[in-house]
Amino acid sequence: MKKLWSAVLWLLALICVFPILFVAAGSLMGSTEVKELLGPALSGRKGYVSWKLFPQYPTLKSYVELLVDTPGFFVMLWNSVKITGGVLAGQLLVGVPAAWGLARFSFPGRKAVFTIYIALMMMPFQVMMLSNYLMLDRLGLLDTLAGIILPAVFSTFPVFIIYRFFEGLPEALMESARLDGAGEWIIFWKIGIPLGSPGIISAMVLGFLEYWNLLEQPMAFLKTKELWPLSLFLPSIDMKQAGGAFAASAVVLFPALMVFLAGQDYLEQGIISTAVKE
């Protein structure tokens, strides 16, 4: 009985990862092999699409074609990097001090600020879409990367996550530093940031996965194709170029996978911190 459950669990776990295996396999196939397997979907031939986990003749041709012959791909890759990097850097700069201010000091209205921050972090994009648009329009930021990056810098999500970790630090630590004559900035720099770093890393890992994957905002606010991130490029590829599409998918997938593997503990801590009571 126990074995059976264990097998069910493994099966479910495998279903979770199958898309990665499929993308990896597809990216290593030659275009003839891909077309052969996908034939029924591409040409309306009878029968079903099928797939293999191991290509018959593994080749890096799709990657070479993508990276050498598709200049547009690099532009979009670079846009994705700029968006993700810009947002995360901004969030560090603005969000970490804000979390410290909320977690370590008491002031009138603190509870209200906290509630507003939680509400904002949980609002789906669609609710904020119109307000976002009107504000970007007024600031002249429509159709610019800054118009995607700036609102995200002021997302309240990282503040909340980091707040959770700052909040847990013992007050006695700060008190003794104050007695030694340390100013608030020094305490923040020398005690807060080092001890709160797991929270900061959690916020960055969750942030990376979110912004690398960003779709709704660029779709709504970027008209110029040269500004698009990769997440908008891939869906526009025709099924007929499936070989290249798999290679592109793999390239998009790779950084996210690396961040996931390197930061999984932080990711879990971050997820848990969103659910623990105040």
């Binding site: 699409v49 909320l102 998918s249 998009v252």
Partner: protein, 281 residues
């Protein structure tokens, strides 16, 4: 005096963030609330006219109905399945971390990189139907019949299972092992332990997990949109599609009213969540 000093210090840390949040989020949203009561064309005060318009709007009714139905079906499935997985996972410590990783992995996968797989999976001659045909089950035209609703459910469960598992596992590992030991000494079986110890101790987490799962559910639009575009089969037409289409037509009146209604519903959920947290603490 001391209090004022402390407030000043807090302000120093908080100010850059608070200023940006006001400029980019709060003020524009207040503007939208105001606009929901006015006409975008003439600038006239309209009272609740815009709200009446959207509630009478066919597309809004369809989308809101589908969205509610989507949550009504997927949340119970996700919450139960993730709880089951978590209980099984924690029973056996071997490979616990690896298995958890596998379940969590989908959360990290960019939507764009699986669009192609999704298209192949749900094509009428695609992989899923191929798989079904092995058991002599008649294939389904996933994208063009009411089965499209299940494309949403499957995508959602796949992506969010690990997230909920992490939350449940955290809850389960917070239960003291001595409770189980004492129960076993008294002769309680595994089933008994689950109902009398595990479940009661997890009730506090349940509400939080449901709300977080709901809010994560809005992101299913990414898969739905990339697989099926602006106007998918009508059973997978969600509020998010509608917002997107109104945005393209710049129907500001309707968008403002819908943003206020949806925002208010979500705000109620969040306040309920905070109350539940406060009660527990």
């Amino acid at each position: 005096m001391r209090k004022r000093k402390e407030a000043l210090k807090a302000l120093m840390f908080l100010l850059p963030s608070a200023a940006g949040v006001c400029l980019f989020w709060i003020i524009p949203y207040l503007d939208v609330i105001k606009r929901s009561f006015f006409s975008a064309v003439s600038g006239e005060f309209m009272g609740f006219h815009n709200f009446r318009t959207i509630f009478e709007n066919q597309a809004f009714r369809l989308a809101a109905g589908n969205t509610l139905r989507f949550f009504g079906v997927c949340i119970p499935i996700l919450v139960t399945l993730s709880l089951l997985v978590s209980v099984l996972l924690t029973r056996e410590q071997k490979y616990l971390q690896l298995k958890k990783s596998l379940f969590l992995l989908p959360m990290a996968i960019p939507v764009a990189s699986v669009v192609l797989i999704w298209k192949l999976l749900f094509h009428s001659q695609g992989l899923l139907n191929h798989f079904l045909s092995l058991f002599s089950v008649e294939g389904v035209d996933w994208m063009n019949t009411e089965a499209s609703f299940w494309v949403l459910i499957i995508s959602y469960i796949w992506r969010n299972l690990g997230y909920d598992v992490v939350l449940w596992v955290a809850g389960i590992s917070g239960i003291s092992a001595s409770l189980y030991e004492a129960a076993r000494v008294d002769g309680a079986g595994e089933w008994m332990c689950f109902w009398k110890i595990t479940m009661p101790n997890l009730m506090g987490s349940l509400f939080t997990i449901v709300v977080l799962s709901l809010l994560n559910g809005f992101k299913v639009f990414r898969e739905a949109y990339l697989v099926a575009g602006d106007y998918p089969q009508q059973d997978m037409y969600l509020l998010q599609h509608l917002f997107n289409n109104w945005y393209r037509d710049l129907s500001i009146d309707k968008m403002a009213a819908a943003a206020v209604v949806t925002g208010a519903v979500i705000m109620l959920l969040i306040l309920a969540l905070q109350r539940a947290w406060a009660k527990e603490a």
